[in-house]
């Protein structure tokens, strides 16, 4: 065995590498396929989870205003809290992003993807001892469909026409076909509660691996193990304690002094300092969030596609990634999807910084005079620096950009989605369909690039109802190319999730779904004795 494959095996044992990644790198190193599989199996077997111990997390994003009702979960802390005590019908695969069964054992769509039948798992009990029934599921979903619940999943649920029980099965009828329905039900707000949480939404009784022990909003949340968990492959620690630490320096101090095992949101600028600590490991995971420069396609001078192309070619993505994110991210290609999404269309050529092409398109556009770009530090961390850097790289192509710094208060109501050229931020969405529907569908409220294309809208609706994955992927490729070459979006980079843990925390899964192992961090890791 070469040193390189030994190194890879070590990575797997540390839990730092997925099977896919391992195979890819081992094969690249010239190891045969069978040998690589065997290597992965032996390395992975060496990391048999250990049970027991008290896990402590120090997390940013909790406030005194937090409530346990999963419908109202907004903050990072409540996201993790919900994952600990509750389950959704469907989960997303941590590596491929595909829908995988949870409380729903299996599902079947009708041919037009309008009627979906979900088989609900038998033998699952809630923390209070009651058995999970299909009625609980129906009541939960109905509660989130109701405006009064103020559910964060309301937007998702509004597409659902009818929810009913049919024997032991759940039947959902949609107004329009949607092949992504199972993934939509993996939304972290949609935790199944007894009687849908209608009795007391804040009770935090669910089917998850941990039972809530105490809850002080904005301060501390504790859990103990659920001994009757229906799954054996999670919930390895005996208890979980979440301490809300909103100060970035305090989080890093708590981790390096060994008081907590895991922290989220490490500032990319201080990662290199943290890496020097011998007991700490930095965990970076690719994310779907992206930093953007957006132009309104229907407003002069940006209604000219040559000017838009010129501005896209004038963006030095590599430099931007290095400066603004200290390298903790991936460069973007001017469409809002990256390979963390299921059905990502591979093979679209990466757009690079090209002053010559930028000059060419700029001259062709016939535009003259400076282009006004509005920005503010609230757009994304380092947005003002990013705008100034862009100004410099554009100048090399002969394009003059005037950077105007706007006040942070009111930026989202007065500048974003109002002014024709500004900086902004987008969090990811669970599916490509959701991302495009939210911001690129011509009638969407947040169509912040004013991208109005009937052919794109048509394709979007067709793709949504298409059950053949190969066909769908092709449609998404066409849509991505449209946005990339004709849209008003300049997307220099996707930001990584940067978290950190003690080295004795094992089994961390780099879930492409969302930050903190898609919120499952406490249920998936174990502590090495």
């Amino acid at each position: 065995m070469s040193d390189f494959t030994k190194h890879l095996g070590h990575e797997v044992r540390r839990g730092g590498m997925s099977r896919r990644e391992f195979m890819g790198r081992a094969l690249a190193a010239g190891v045969s396929l069978t040998l690589a599989s065997q290597l992965y199996a032996t390395s992975a077997a060496a990391q048999e989870p250990q049970r027991g111990g008290a896990l402590k997390l120090g997390l940013e994003g909790g406030a005194a205003t937090d409530v346990l009702d999963p419908a109202k979960a907004l903050s990072q802390v409540m996201f993790v809290v919900g994952r600990n005590w509750g389950d959704t019908l469907v989960e997303s695969d941590p590596l491929s992003g595909a829908a995988v069964p949870a409380l729903a054992e299996s599902w079947e769509p009708s041919a037009d993807a309008k009627t979906w039948t979900f088989k609900i798992r038998q033998g699952v009990t809630f923390h209070d001892g009651k058995a999970l029934t299909v009625d609980d599921v129906v009541a939960t979903l109905k509660r989130h469909t109701d405006e009064k619940s103020e559910s964060g999943a309301l937007g998702v649920m509004q597409t659902i026409g009818d929810i009913k029980a049919d024997g032991g099965n759940l039947v959902i009828t949609l107004a329009e076909g949607n092949a992504d329905l199972p993934l939509l039900l993996s939304d972290y707000h949609l935790i199944i509660q007894p009687n849908g949480g209608n009795d007391d939404p804040n009770k935090a009784v669910g089917t998850g691996p941990f039972k809530l022990a105490s809850f002080e909003p904005g301060v501390r949340v504790t859990f103990e193990k659920n001994p009757n968990d229906w799954r054996q492959d999670r919930g390895y620690v005996d208890s979980v304690e979440i301490i809300v630490i909103n100060d970035a320096t305090a989080r890093v101090a708590a981790l390096s002094s060994g008081q907590v095992h895991y922290v989220n949101r490490v500032d990319p600028k201080t990662v290199s300092l943290l890496q020097r600590a011998p007991t700490v490991e930095v965990l970076t995971t690719s994310g779907r969030g992206h930093y953007v420069f957006i132009m309104h396609c229907n407003t002069a001078p940006f209604d000219n596609n040559d000017l838009r192309l010129a501005l896209k070619y004038a963006m030095d993505r590599e430099a931007m990634l290095k400066t603004v994110l200290s390298g903790y991210g991936k460069i973007g290609n001017d469409f809002p999807i990256n390979d963390t999404y299921a059905l990502f269309p591979e093979g679209i050529e990466q757009r690079a910084y090209d002053p010559d092409k930028a000059t060419f398109h700029y001259k062709k556009s016939g535009h003259s005079g400076p282009v006004l770009l509005r920005t503010s530090d609230v757009a994304f961390p380092g947005a003002v620096d990013a705008a100034v850097l862009y100004q410099q790289t554009a100048q090399k192509a002969g394009i003059t950009i005037e950077v105007r710094r706007e006040p942070g208060d009111g930026y989202w109501s007065n500048v974003w989605n109002v002014q024709p050229f500004s900086t902004s931020y987008w969090g990811g969405r669970p599916t490509q369909d959701q991302m495009y529907s939210t911001a690129y569908y011509s009638k969407a409220d947040w169509n912040d690039t004013r991208f109005i294309r009937p052919d794109f809208d048509k394709l979007l609706l067709e793709a949504r109802a298409e059950l053949d994955e190969a066909k769908r992927k092709d449609m998404y490729r066409t849509m991505a190319t449209m946005v990339r070459d004709e849209g008003g979006l300049i997307l220099p980079m996707f930001n990584d999730f940067v978290n950190a843990a003690q080295k004795r925390v094992k089994g961390y899964v780099h879930d492409i779904g969302n930050d903190m192992s898609n919120g499952y961090v406490a249920t998936r890791v174990w502590l090495e004795a």
Partner: protein, 373 residues
């Protein structure tokens, strides 16, 4: 015992009124923070009954009057708070719903909370409830504010109490020592050290303490999170670092005031008498100078106590301590008006109460004011 500390200078340079002029205009609130006018009532001519009461029980009358003014002041503060939060851009429904804010959802929330009513109506409805001790429920969490505030305030007072317990005797003691060894090495050390501590921002002191004691030596616990049912000794250990930070921050102010006030008195003829009598310098300071320098010291102590309660939000954030400052900041972020109002009012009440107590104590410490002509 005739000398009264004359006009002295605060650390921040604000001039202090001559303490204890019996003819001071009654009821003139002066500056809320530094006024030490004893406000001995003199309204006998206008309101005979009140005047007679005031003449017979000057101290009681003064306290009553102070209480009345404080109450009016609190009402004024609540109005200012209300206007301030109203003026912030963005409203609760918008902020709370964030990305899921559809016009319909915003409208629902606004109607549920009565935000569609005019501001004046809402203010007076709130004021009416607050006067009966009901601060209502938080808009964001729908929990009782009184309960939450009680718990958070308890934490803040716990920390403030121990910080005061250490810092006040330490400051006054060190102040006396620096007078005793005036212009000698001990005095210089105390001054340099305390000035250095006050010059550094508190978050920086906090980070340095964390770095040295929690990370490098690992002798104290961090973060300083406290929770219900935490054993008392664990709590004490948890607040060690924030307490030390607060002590360092408030020490210099009180120490230098003590030193200045006593030095001021040390010029007086009766100190010379004491020295000529053959009293030791330490005894002279303790028995003769310090009691006459009490008024300004009490004032600066009260100011710092108030700071320990209402000004510690930065320390709370740095040390992850669940105090009331943090609670209020969380509420401001989402424009949770009832919580902001309740916390703001509480802060104002504590400030006013401590200042009033300082005034009264300052008067009690001065025999001339205790027994007006």
């Amino acid at each position: 015992m005739a000398a009264v500390p004359g006009s002295s200078q605060n650390l921040d340079g604000t001039a202090r009124l001559p303490a204890g002029d019996p003819l001071a205009v009654p009821g003139a609130p002066g500056s809320l923070l530094v006024s030490v006018d004893p406000a001995v009532p003199g309204t006998a001519g206008k309101r005979p009954a009140l005047g007679r009461f005031a003449a017979r029980h000057p101290l009681a009358a003064m306290i009553l009057q102070r209480l009345g003014i404080s109450f009016l002041l609190l009402i004024a503060v609540s109005a200012v708070l209300f206007i301030g939060v109203e003026a912030l851009p963005g409203d609760f429904a918008q902020t709370y719903l964030g990305q899921s804010a559809t016009p319909q959802a915003v409208e629902n929330i606004r109607r549920d909370l009565g935000l569609d009513q005019p501001a004046a109506t809402r203010y007076f409805a709130w004021l009416g409830n607050a006067l009966t001790g009901d601060f209502g429920t938080s808009w964001a969490s729908r929990n009782s504010i009184t309960e939450q505030v009680g718990r958070r305030l308890g934490n803040t007072l716990f920390l403030a109490f121990f910080a005061a317990l250490i810092s006040v005797p330490l400051a006054v003691g060190l102040g006396m020592i620096s007078v005793l060894y005036r212009d000698r090495i001990a005095d210089r050390l105390v001054n340099v050290f305390s000035l250095a501590a006050i010059s550094l921002p508190e978050f920086f002191i906090g980070y340095v303490l964390i770095f040295v004691f929690a990370i490098n030596f690992g002798v104290v616990s961090f973060p300083s999170t406290v929770f219900d049912g935490m054993p008392f000794l664990d709590r004490l250990e948890a607040i060690a670092l924030p307490c030390a930070t607060l002590v360092l921050v408030v020490l210099a102010h009180m120490l230098r005031m003590t030193r200045a006030a006593i030095l001021n008195v040390m010029e007086a003829p009766y100190i010379e008498t004491a020295e000529l009598k053959g009293l030791s310098r330490a005894r002279t300071i303790l028995r003769h100078a310090a009691p006459n320098a009490l008024a300004p010291i009490i004032n600066v102590v009260a100011l710092n106590l108030a700071y320990l309660v209402v000004g510690v939000v930065v320390v709370e954030v740095v040390f992850v301590y669940p105090g009331i400052g943090q609670y209020m900041v969380d509420a401001v972020t989402v424009r949770d008006m009832p919580v902001v109002q309740a916390c703001g009012l509480l802060f104002a009440a504590i400030y006013i109460f401590l200042n009033m107590a300082a005034d009264i104590l300052a008067i009690l410490s001065n025999p001339r004011l205790r027994h007006p002509k």
